[in-house]
């Protein structure tokens, strides 16, 4: 039997207005601090404030940050148990969206955050197919395999990619400086890492361009949710170009997906949304759509909170987009 004294986190949970929200806040702070920086940057702290603005926590963040930075795995286990117990249905998806947003806010996911995100997905019982769709939805690029920091080739490829990037910049600046010679093996090893970094870099640039105004950036998460709600209410007949991009992307980042994903990739994503295997027949697609539409129709969540309604609308819209796309493919 352990000590009968209450730990600081237990006291915090007991005095919180909502223990599930307090537990979620600790896990999000842990995720934010798994980026290898060792501290919670002001930007991440502001982001946490925004995302958890409607959490019924009502306490200062200092203890949470102290526990997340140590990290205190006894407190994290308790938080994970509370979350597993209370976050079910649409709430888990909302939480995972918040987690992905926290992890990808500053661009590239570091290996530690990859593993924490995967732990949270397993904790809440979200299947990898669903989580990958969620990830692409929020981050705008696919979930990659975490880097292996214990492998020598990872460091070689990373440093040569960094070196190459800086030498390219130097060459661009000085017009004519010769680049370093590289072996074919290193080139191959660096290619995957460079590609991923370039993709993430593009995503970062797009995000910065999109968030030109500070005020917009502060409110982006809520704006996305509101926008999703509005899209849901929009008339089916209003097919602007922007709307078409969103529809085909099955995501908030539809414009990006359209520009970069091939038709085959889109079809695979659409099939994943409907929980189907490759080469699914038209009848199977229709059956899967009917089943999911009945299960996730927003009217079923009418009696629940506004947040649950918005999440359900988002999910239903994504299912419908995927179905429409696949039907067009089969026409």
């Amino acid at each position: 039997m352990a000590s009968s004294r209450f730990t600081p986190f237990e006291r915090l949970l007991l005095s919180s207005r909502n223990e599930a929200d307090t537990a979620a806040l600790l896990l999000l702070a842990w995720l934010a601090m798994s980026d290898g920086q060792g501290t919670l940057s002001d930007r991440k702290r502001t982001l946490l404030d925004e995302l958890t603005g409607d959490f019924r926590h009502d306490h200062g963040y200092q203890l949470i940050i102290d526990l997340a930075s140590a990290p205190d795995f006894v407190a994290l286990q308790l938080a994970a148990e509370v979350l597993q117990r209370y976050y079910r249905g649409p709430r888990r998806e909302t939480f995972l969206r918040q987690a992905i947003h926290v992890a990808t806010h500053e661009g590239a996911l570091v290996a530690g955050q990859h593993h924490v995100l995967r732990f949270l997905a397993d904790l809440l019982g979200v299947a990898p197919e669903t989580f990958e769709v969620l990830f692409r939805d929020v981050a705008g690029y696919p979930l990659a395999v975490p880097e292996d920091l214990s492998a020598a080739h990872y460091w070689r490829s990373r440093e040569s990619a960094d070196h190459r990037h800086s030498s390219q910049q130097d060459r661009h600046d000085t017009h004519g400086e010769s680049s370093r010679e590289r072996t074919d093996g290193e080139e191959d090893a660096a290619q995957g890492s460079r590609g991923r970094r370039r993709k993430e870099q593009r995503y970062r640039q797009r995000e910065h361009a999109k968030d030109g105004h500070d005020e917009t950036r502060r409110r982006r998460w809520r704006w996305r949710r509101e926008e999703a709600g509005q899209r849901e209410q929009a008339h089916d007949g209003q097919h602007s170009d922007e709307g078409e991009r969103h529809r085909e992307g099955f995501s908030h980042e539809g414009a990006y997906a359209k520009g970069h994903a091939s038709g085959n990739e889109k079809a695979q994503r659409a099939l994943a949304v409907l929980g189907l295997m490759e080469n699914a027949q038209k009848s199977e697609i229709k059956r899967a759509y009917r089943r999911l539409a009945q299960k996730y129709h927003p009217d079923r969540y009418h009696a629940q909170s506004q947040e649950a309604m918005v999440t359900a609308s988002l999910r239903f819209q994504r299912i419908k987009n995927a179905y429409d796309y696949l039907m067009r493919q089969h026409a």
């Binding site: 352990a2 949970l13 290898g36 060792g38 286990q77 732990f119 460091w155």
Partner: protein, 129 residues
């Protein structure tokens, strides 16, 4: 806790697997790489512990070399939430018991005081009776 440079050098010298030895040389002998690796190692060790205690060692996102390296067997630790509930239960019982003792003490004190006052009056002011 991170191993010292001397410990790492000894471990590398003892290692017989050439691939592991080369990787360790590359990663652990460079300070910046080692720092980053240590942080990830700490995170993965913690996640392995949490997964073992919460029954998530065979979940879909815990497989491959990471799962092989960082999975531990369940250490018989109790569930934290159940422990918290048990603590709250004990605290409630102690509180209730104390309230009962306090009530008895208050009644006892009141009765003693009244009896004392009565006896005092009887002794020092018998004319009142």
């Amino acid at each position: 806790m991170s191993a010292s440079d001397a410990d790492i050098a000894r471990a590398i010298a003892r290692c017989e697997n050439q691939a592991v030895k080369a990787a360790a040389e590359n990663v652990l002998r460079v300070e910046s790489r080692k720092r980053e690796y240590d942080q990830l190692y700490g995170t993965l060790t913690g996640i392995g512990l949490l997964r073992a205690r919460m029954g998530l060692s065979h979940a879909p996102y815990w497989k491959g070399s990471v799962a092989n390296d960082f999975s531990i067997s369940a250490d018989g630790e109790y569930a934290r939430y159940a422990e918290l509930k048990a603590k709250v239960g004990r605290a409630v019982r102690v509180h209730d018991a104390w309230q009962q003792v306090r009530r008895v003490m208050l009644w006892g004190g009141g009765i003693s005081l009244a009896t004392g006052a009565g006896v005092a009056l009887l002794m020092f002011a018998p004319d009142l009776f």
